[in-house]
Each structure stands twice: as structure tokens, then as C-alpha cells.
Amino acid sequence: MSEGIRNLIMGFALVIFSVSLFQSIYDFKPLIYPGISYLYNWVGTEIAPNMVTVVVFDWRGYDTLGEALILVTAVIAVLLVFGRGKVQMGGK
């Protein structure tokens, strides 16, 4: 397949995707249900004044742990990209 035909097919596929995405977003808007956020707003006032802090540290701590870890991982990966800690196969 030549590059032109490929680009045409890709563009067509993306147009189909975007049409269905926009349509589902338009359908989505009236369906939004806050759910658990109601509960957070009621119960959170007893814990700390800022509700996002309450969510981040009190209810969803493992997300925050993951957030910190991905920063550490990214820093180490960037150091690795520039050459720290490469390994070589071979014995002593």
C-alpha cells in the first residue's frame, strides 16, 4: 500500500472515531451523576476544610502514592536515558 492510500485510510478512521466521540460526549452531558462526590462533600467537612485534600490524602492515598512514585520513576528513567546505571552482560 502506498503512503497516500494509508494516509487516506487513517484520516477516514480518525474521522469516524471523532464523530462517535463527539456524539457520545453530547449524550454524556445530561447523564453526569456526581455519586460519591456528594458523600465526600458531606463527610469531608468533618476531616479537613479542603475537599480535594481530603480526597487525595484521606480516601485515595494509594493514588497519591502512585503519583509520587511515577515522579521518582520518571526522574530515574531520565537519568538512565543520559547514561546512569547501564548494565552489561558478563560474569565477574
Binding site: 456528594y38 511515577i70 537519568l79
Partner: protein, 501 residues
């Protein structure tokens, strides 16, 4: 003893951070890595079953101190049973999965410490971080938490590839990250759509609100969400169209790294596959798509493996092809089929790690992985050659070994589900898998040795032999006593097969 449940994630994280701090202190790295890696398979054995709520916040219905003074708007509705905090569920299936993952991780880390010139703290960091995130993927009952650890796993995968120094690894890592950056936000969008419609990210609550009719399960937004999550699933597990990049990733990592990376893919496949089946099994298309994609993965993976000349790439494609068997088990949707698929997943993790580390000995000794330039290694390493041959038998499904049991179960399940064609294809592709393996085995071990092949390292580390023998023992145990594994899997598969009314 429920404290041990979060510890399963936290211990490898602590080890990862330590190893990075200790970079360049070789002895200490070795000691700490071995001791802490040993806890990986031990913790799931010691931990008792249970559900862990972050911060101890159980749902309101079970938590009277939290629910005092709340209006009936909350306590009287479905919100009363919602999980406010991140929940980790540790049941019998998770016990088996985490044990196997811990075992493979321990052996891969052990081999990596003895096969490299100097132990690298950074390599250890990436391996442990990947293991921690995959354990979190298996434990978590929260779909956003799943996404966070999914991304950590992707970054750790890139780290393991970058560390290897194989030619072309930077390019492959960049391709993987570009494709991942297209796909992961779409997975997040799918999660956001689910959150918006159901009002929660806890999977049990999402299912409950679909079941009791708070949300109309047939609404088009949920269909879109399912499509996006399935697309993320394809990326995470390396099913087509991501099979080329996934096998390239395996081939650009060192053998022990690749052994761990394929375990990550398999466990991501079953963790997200279970989530898709739990939430969306009421959609008629979900199981058909899982079946179709798995079939494609089997056919493309195994036929492409035949054409490769690079040893690691060949096993990489075989590993992707074997993923198809697991997908078929999940896609059949019957309890027996799902048990067979999950059992096959466990066997495949062990066998592919076995093959990667076994053929990795060749790479360790010669620094070469092109099969056209290899040959005559049988004389040098008869014991390893025998072990690798047994690994090949296991992958093809020869009777006393484990994949025989799971493939037999898969074929029986497909006949029971009224699709005997799948059984025929699985047998056919098993034969071709074995032929592919024998082609590599013949080229590496039995052909006369080419004159220009030089052997850099004569001595094989004892740790490598030990880990190969452990893999063989696991294969034999699961092959002779399959009830040991399937007993752990029955509860989850009968739950999944129930589906939605």
C-alpha cells in the same frame, strides 16, 4: 493479618527506592535485592484473604461512626453502599497470581544479579517498581488506581528496555512510549466516562449500580467507555495491533528483563480482562471481540515467530501468540473456559520466563542472538540444552508438563461452548509453536559451530541453573497436580461466568 495486603505492594517499592540510593555499592545491592526479592513470593502465602480499605474507611453501611448525622439523601440511597476509599481485594485467585509473579520476579532478579558485570541499582529499581505496580494491578478494586499503576508499569517497562544497551533500544522505547501516549489517555477517557455515568470508580460499585438499575446499562456512553477500555486492554497486554511493538520490546531487553516483562503483560491482560468481563459481560460484542482479537494474536504471533532470525524476537512473538490462548479462555465466557484461560496464563508466565532465561544463557555466553550466527552450543552446555528442550516441550504442551493440562482444558472448554473450530486451531498452532521452537533449538544447539563464533564467558552462574531447575519443578508440579492451581481459580471464574442477568 490484613496489614500484609498493602505490604505486598509496599515492600517492592521500598526495595526499589533502597536499591536506587545504594547505586554503585555492589555487595550491599546484591544482599538487599536477594533478601527482599525472597519476600515477594512469601508475602502472598502468609497473607490471609480479605478486603483492605485505605485508611480503614469501609462503606457507610458498615461504618456507623462515619454515617452519624448524615441526611437520608445519602444513607437512604445507593451511596450508602458505595466504597469511599480505595479498596484492595485479596482473594484466592490473587494469591496464586501474586505468588507466581513473585516467584518469576525473584528468579529474574536473582539471575540478573549474577549475569551482569556489576549489579546496577537502577536496573533493580525498575524491576522492583514494575513488580510492585503489577501486584497493585492485580489487587486493586478501583479502576482509576488501576490506571495510575498501569502507567507506572509502562514507565518501568521503558526503564528495563533503556537499561539494556542492546542496539536500537532507544528507538524501540520511544516507539512504545508514543503508541502508549496515544492509547493511555483514551483508557483514561473511558474511565472518566464510567465515572461520570455511575458516579464512582470502584468496580464493585459500578457493577452494583448497573445491576440495580441506577444506570441504564444500554446507554451509548457506556458502549463508548467499553470500546475505549478494550482498546487500552489491547495496548497493555500486547494483543494485535500492538503485537509488533510488544515483541520488539521483549527483544530489546536483556533476557532476565524480558522474562519479567512478559509476566507484566500477561498479568495486565488478566487483570484488565477480568475487569472488562466483570463490568461489560452483558454487551454481546465484548466476548466476541475478545475471541476475535485472541484468535488474531495466536495466528499472527506464531506465524510471524517462524519468520524471525533474532532469537529473542522469536520468543517474543511466541509469547504474544500464547497470549491468544488466555484470551480465548476468557472470551469463551463459561466457568470452565475462564478457569482454563487463567490456568494457561499462569503456565505461560512460567514457561516463557523459563525459555527467555534458558536461551538467555546463549546471549550471556556469546553476546549474540542472531540464529544465523549461532551453533554448536550443545557441547558447551549440555545441561542447559536439556532444560531448554524441556521448556520447549512444556510450551508445546507435551503430557507430563503444565501447558498440556491447560491446553487440554481449553480445548475441552471450546468444545463444550460449541466452538470446536477453536480447538482445531489451538492444536494446529501448538504444533507450529513446537516447530518454531525446534527450529531455534536446532540452529543454536545441534548445528555445527560456526568458525567465527567466539565464546566470551565460559562459566554459567549457578544462580541461572538453579532458577531454570525451579521453573522446571513448577512446570512439573502444575502438570502432575493441576488441581493445585485450578482450585484457586474456581471461585473467580464461576463469579465471572455468571455475568449480568
Amino acid at each position: 493479618m490484613n496489614l500484609l495486603i498493602p505490604l505486598m505492594v509496599i515492600v517492592p517499592i521500598i526495595c526499589a527506592l533502597f536499591l536506587n540510593l545504594l547505586h554503585k555499592k555492589d555487595r550491599t545491592i546484591k544482599a538487599i535485592a536477594i533478601i527482599l526479592a525472597l519476600t515477594l513470593p512469601l508475602l502472598p502465602i502468609l497473607a490471609s484473604y480479605g478486603i483492605h480499605y485505605f485508611g480503614g474507611y469501609a462503606p457507610l453501611a458498615q461504618n456507623p461512626t462515619l454515617s452519624t448525622g448524615l441526611p437520608s439523601l445519602i444513607t437512604g440511597t445507593v451511596l450508602n453502599t458505595f466504597h469511599p476509599a480505595i479498596t484492595y481485594a485479596f482473594q484466592d485467585a490473587q494469591k496464586l497470581f501474586i505468588f507466581i509473579l513473585g516467584l518469576v520476579a525473584f528468579l529474574a532478579i536473582l539471575v540478573s544479579l549474577f549475569e551482569t558485570k556489576r549489579p546496577s541499582g537502577v536496573y533493580g529499581f525498575m524491576m522492583f517498581m514494575g513488580v510492585a505496580s503489577v501486584i497493585a494491578l492485580l489487587l486493586t478494586d478501583d479502576i482509576f488506581n488501576f490506571y495510575v499503576f498501569f502507567e507506572i508499569m509502562a514507565l518501568a517497562t521503558v526503564g528495563i528496555v533503556l537499561v539494556s544497551g542492546v542496539k536500537g533500544n532507544y528507538e524501540t522505547a520511544l516507539k512504545y512510549m508514543i503508541l502508549g501516549s496515544i492509547t493511555s489517555p483514551l483508557l483514561l477517557l473511558g474511565i472518566a466516562l464510567l465515572l461520570g455515568v455511575t458516579g464512582n470508580v470502584n468496580i464493585t460499585d459500578i457493577i452494583a449500580s448497573l445491576k440495580i438499575g441506577v444506570v441504564d446499562p444500554k446507554n451509548p456512553v457506556l458502549l463508548m467507555a467499553c470500546g475505549l477500555i478494550v482498546f487500552g486492554w489491547l495496548y497493555g497486554s500486547g494483543l494485535p495491533p500492538f503485537h509488533t511493538i510488544k515483541s520488539a520490546i521483549y527483544s530489546k531487553a536483556l533476557p532476565h528483563g524480558a522474562a519479567l516483562l512478559q509476566a507484566f503483560s500477561v498479568f495486565t491482560l488478566i487483570a484488565l480482562g477480568i475487569i472488562i468481563l466483570r463490568i461489560f459481560s452483558y454487551l454481546p460484542f465484548s466476548q466476541m471481540i475478545i475471541l476475535g482479537v485472541s484468535l488474531l494474536a495466536m495466528i499472527l504471533g506464531i506465524t510471524m515467530a517462524l519468520l524471525q532470525t533474532d532469537l529473542k524476537r522469536m520468543i517474543g512473538f511466541l509469547a504474544v501468540g500464547e497470549l491468544g490462548y488466555i484470551g480465548i479462555g476468557l472470551g469463551l465466557g463459561t466457568a470452565y473456559g475462564i478457569t482454563a484461560g487463567l490456568f494457561q496464563a499462569i503456565n505461560e508466565v512460567v514457561i516463557t520466563a523459563f525459555l527467555f532465561i534458558g536461551f538467555g544463557v546463549i546471549y550471556y555466553q556469546t553476546g549474540e542472538s542472531d540464529i544465523r550466527k549461532l551453533g554448536g552450543m550443545m557441547v558447551k552446555t549440555p545441561l542447559v540444552a536439556l532444560l531448554v528442550l524441556l521448556a520447549g516441550f512444556a510450551m508445546a504442551g507435551v503430557p507430563p508438563l503444565n501447558a498440556f493440562q491447560s491446553k487440554l482444558m481449553l480445548i475441552q472448554a471450546s468444545i463444550q461452548a460449541g466452538l470446536p473450530e477453536l480447538g482445531v486451531i489451538m492444536i494446529l498452532l501448538s504444533i507450529v509453536t513446537f516447530m518454531t521452537f525446534m527450529k531455534a533449538f536446532h540452529a543454536v544447539y545441534m548445528r555445527p559451530k560456526p568458525a567465527d563464533l567466539e565464546i566470551k564467558n565460559e562459566k554459567i552462574p549457578r544462580a541461572t541453573i538453579l532458577s531454570l531447575i525451579v521453573f522446571l519443578v513448577v512446570c512439573l508440579i502444575f502438570g502432575l497436580f493441576p488441581q493445585l492451581a485450578t482450585g484457586f481459580l474456581q471461585a473467580i471464574s464461576s463469579n465471572l461466568a455468571g455475568g449480568m442477568p
